[in-house]
């Protein structure tokens, strides 16, 4: 514990899948459970930590989120909430998917929650055909089967074509 306070100003270097390097303050990096575990298991901060699954653009967003949450005191929950909703506001589905993948890989629970919730909120009122395209799911029903499944839950389709 004492060492983490001493090392508060230390920085570490993260490397995105496309080779971009980011110098991150340690307390910001600790928002990620993955990085926290790596630091705990005696991984020297001089090393460059490769994040082979995360491109630079996504990593920049992720670190923006971590910075905000690491710096804000717990009393500013309202401010953080409004930051969170603004942060995701105009993001397209592709960017959200990248964020979910990155947050899942780096184990940043808060970011994972808000990004997944944002996707859920976006798709919940969409027709199932569109949802199929969004997630690239192959339709394995015959037309007859699909009609039967729909009939089973007819009330859930109120207002849908």
């Amino acid at each position: 514990m004492a060492s983490s306070i001493e090392n508060n100003n230390e920085k570490l270097t993260l490397k995105s899948s496309d080779g971009e390097e980011f110098l991150v303050e340690k307390h910001v990096a600790l928002q990620s459970t993955l990085l926290q575990n790596m630091l705990d298991s005696d991984c020297s901060s001089a090393d460059v930590i490769p994040l082979p699954k995360i491109d630079a653009r996504t990593l920049a967003l992720v670190l923006g989120y971590c910075k905000k949450h690491a710096d804000a005191s717990s009393s500013k929950q309202g401010e953080l909430n409004s930051f969170d909703s603004e942060f995701l506001k105009d993001m397209d589905m592709g960017a959200l998917f990248n964020l979910v993948l990155a947050a899942n890989f780096m184990e940043i629970k808060g970011l994972l929650d808000i990004a997944a919730q944002k996707i859920a909120d976006t798709i919940k009122d969409k027709p199932h055909q569109e949802v199929r395209e969004i997630f690239h799911v192959e339709n394995d029903y015959t037309p007859e089967e699909e009609a039967a499944v729909r009939e089973e839950n007819r009330w859930a389709f109120e207002g849908f074509p």
């Binding site: 270097t13 993260l14 899948s17 496309d18 080779g19 971009e20 390097e21 980011f22 110098l23 991150v24 303050e25 910001v28 460059v48 491109d55 630079a56 653009r57 990593l59 920049a60 967003l61 670190l63 923006g64 910075k67 905000k68 401010e79 409004s82 930051f83 603004e86 942060f87 589905m93 592709g94 998917f97 990248n98 979910v100 993948l101 899942n104 997944a116 919730q117 996707i119 859920a120 798709i123 919940k124 009122d125 199932h128 949802v131 199929r132 997630f135 690239h136 799911v137 192959e138 394995d140 029903y141 499944v149 729909r150 089973e152 839950n153 009330w155 859930a156 109120e158 207002g159 849908f160």
Partner: protein, 610 residues
């Protein structure tokens, strides 16, 4: 406030524009610098940014090219998520209605709503902890512990009053739950039924699935008469399975009038009943007429009933006042270990409830306080009417230590005593500090909340006005679909029914609406007017008129128009939540009482209160 807003705005600009654009810009500038000066300099990002490209960063030309290429591709390539992430992270956050619709996506998604691990993960995400209350004309208010997606405030206008008859002659006599998204419904047997065991069914309001539990061995017992039958309903935290437990006291009808206790547990996973061993023949149970005589502790998966035991061997059905040899207790059933446990109540209440103590009237309710079982004794002086609620909390470590039934000791500890502000009954804790009290009044009793710390009484409906700003904001943003309780469907209805507004105006000017419309039409019109008024589409005159219509409409409408009536009541409720009109809140209380008085068959009016 303004400062905070400005500050957060700057932050957002700095982060979104700063992070994305300046980084891209930085790459381009560096590229130019590289071309001009032949070497890289670390880009200077705004102060306060979370990342700083490393000083040692000296990529060669190939790396730079690679970076630019990737940047271009990330912004336009098609993305996808692995299936397990889609299911675990995203689908588990969807409302039930969307999930049922998305069963049509593919066969894997079809199976999700019945997959136990998916259900568990869905419940975890939908655990909003909204306190639920519902009115049921049979049994008064009933309270649930956990909300679901479909019952949150946001979708309040999408609430449908539910007909709980399910083909029976009457509504269930007891509704337990929700637990794990399910309700357990309990119909008492008709007197001519043999051997008088209740009909128990499980109901999932989200998927609309309903199933009556199969008969069991105890439906064909060797004893003639069922004295009482307790039912408990909960979730086995170990096997992740929903269970129903039945504790039956049979009267052997021998000379000694001996009672024999039997118990069975139903496991939703296996779909069948199993007989459990109960050895405590001195144990007696009360009829479950009062829903506050039982309580489920969701954290521990333990169901509790208010019960008693006799000090001797012989158990007699207790009259209202207990005999000398009877001790009050809490009977608990652990859903995982399938064990019954007994915890004795403090002895002074055994004395207080005995016949010679006529100067006190004592009632006992079970509720939850900070995730522990709380036993509330309402003690009222019979003459002076002065009342207190004495609250005892069951200590978990103690009752966990008590196995079987032999080594019980007092494991209830006195938590606090609340002086009651008026003549009222305690219904248990509504949330951390608020007791839900029911005013005792011959004419019209009503429920209210009483903060035991500040000693402030609050109206149950007005207590939720703190949610008002959230709803208003949503309406201002026009974000009806996600933020506001008005569903798209309702909005469409409203727009389609705009013409009714002009019709209403005509009727209002004539003053002759009673002749012009049937009761049902008047109710519908009242509903539309209220909705339009809530959306600021028409003036406040409309609300007065809708109240008139409502009053006339109710008397003309008769019992068949329950749905319309309920929807108008819900709109009044919504108006009360919104804090638009004081009269709306009063009107709502009146309406609910009206429904209760009329023994409305569609009596399940859901409220979500903060």
């Amino acid at each position: 406030m303004a400062q905070v807003l400005v500050f957060s705005y700057i932050d957002i600009v700095a982060l979104l524009v700063g992070v994305v654009l300046e980084w891209v810009w930085g790459v381009l500038v560096e590229a130019l610098q590289y071309l001009v000066f032949g070497q890289f300099r670390a880009s200077n990002l705004p102060v306060g940014q979370n990342f700083i490209p490393a000083e040692s960063f000296r990529p060669n030309e190939d790396q730079w090219l690679a970076t630019t290429t990737t940047t271009t591709t990330t912004s336009c390539c098609s993305h996808s998520l692995p299936e397990d992430l889609v299911i675990d992270l995203i689908l588990s956050r969807l409302p039930v209605k969307s999930l049922l619709r998305f069963k049509s996506v593919c066969k894997t998604w079809y199976a999700l709503p019945t997959n136990p691990s998916f259900i568990a993960s869905h419940l975890k995400h939908s655990n909003n902890c909204n306190t639920l209350a519902s009115w049921n004309a049979n049994i008064g208010p009933i309270f649930g512990l956990r909300g679901f997606n479909i019952f949150t405030l946001r979708s309040m206008l999408a609430f449908q009053p539910v007909n709980l008859n399910f083909g029976f002659q009457r509504k269930p006599d007891l509704v337990l739950g929700p637990c794990d998204g399910l309700f357990c419904l309990y119909w008492k047997p008709d007197l001519r039924d043999y051997p008088q065991l209740p009909t128990i069914a499980l109901w999932n309001p989200a998927t609309k699935a309903f199933s009556i539990l199969p008969t069991s061995e105890l439906d064909h017992p060797p004893y003639k008469t069922v004295d009482t039958c307790l039912v408990g309903f909960g979730f086995d935290l170990a096997t992740k399975s929903t269970k129903v437990v039945k504790f039956v006291s049979f009267d052997t009808a021998t000379r000694y009038g001996r009672i024999i206790n039997c118990a069975e547990v139903y496991d939703l996973g296996s779909g069948s009943w199993r007989v459990l061993h109960v050895d405590d023949t001195a144990l007696g149970v009360f009829d479950l007429d009062d829903p506050t005589h039982c309580m489920y502790d969701n954290n521990d998966g333990v169901f509790h009933w208010h019960a008693y035991r006799s000090r001797g061997r012989r158990v007699v059905s207790p009259p209202n006042r207990l005999g000398m040899s009877v001790e009050l207790l809490v009977l608990s059933f652990d859903m995982s270990r399938e064990l019954f446990r007994v915890t004795l109540m403090p002895d002074k209440y055994n004395l207080l409830m005995r016949p010679h103590h006529v100067e006190f009237h004592v009632e006992c309710q079970l509720s939850l306080l900070r995730d522990s079982l709380a036993v509330n004794f309402s003690v009222r002086e019979t003459v002076a009417g002065h009342g207190t609620v004495e609250i005892w909390v069951m200590k978990k470590d103690l009752y966990r230590g008590v196995m079987g039934g032999e080594s019980f000791s007092y494991s209830l500890s006195h938590e606090l005593t609340v002086e009651l502000p008026c003549l009222c009954l305690s219904m248990g804790f509504w949330n951390k500090n608020d007791l839900l009290l029911w005013e005792v009044d011959i004419r019209s009793g009503k429920p209210f909340l009483y903060d035991v710390v500040t000693k402030q009484a609050r109206d149950l409906v007005k207590a939720s006005i703190s949610r008002k700003s959230e709803i208003c904001e949503a309406i201002e943003e026009g974000d009806y679909g996600t933020q506001c309780p008005l569903s798209n469907h309702v909005i469409d209805e409203l727009i389609r029914s705009q013409y009714l507004l002009s019709e209403a105006a005509n009727m209002h000017s004539d003053g002759n609406y009673a002749a012009a419309a049937s009761g049902l039409q008047m109710l519908e019109l009242a509903g539309y007017l209220l909705s339009l008024w809530l959306l600021d589409v028409c003036s406040a005159v409309a609300v007065e008129f809708s109240i008139e219509l409502f009053t006339v409409g109710v008397s003309a409408a008769g019992k068949e128009e329950e749905l319309a009536l309920c929807s108008v009541v819900l709109l009044f409720l919504f108006a009360a939540f919104e804090g638009r009109a004081r009269s709306a809140s009063e009107r709502f209380c009146d309406s609910v009482m009206f429904l209760v008085e009329m023994e409305w068959t569609l009596n399940f009016i859901w409220l979500t209160l903060a």
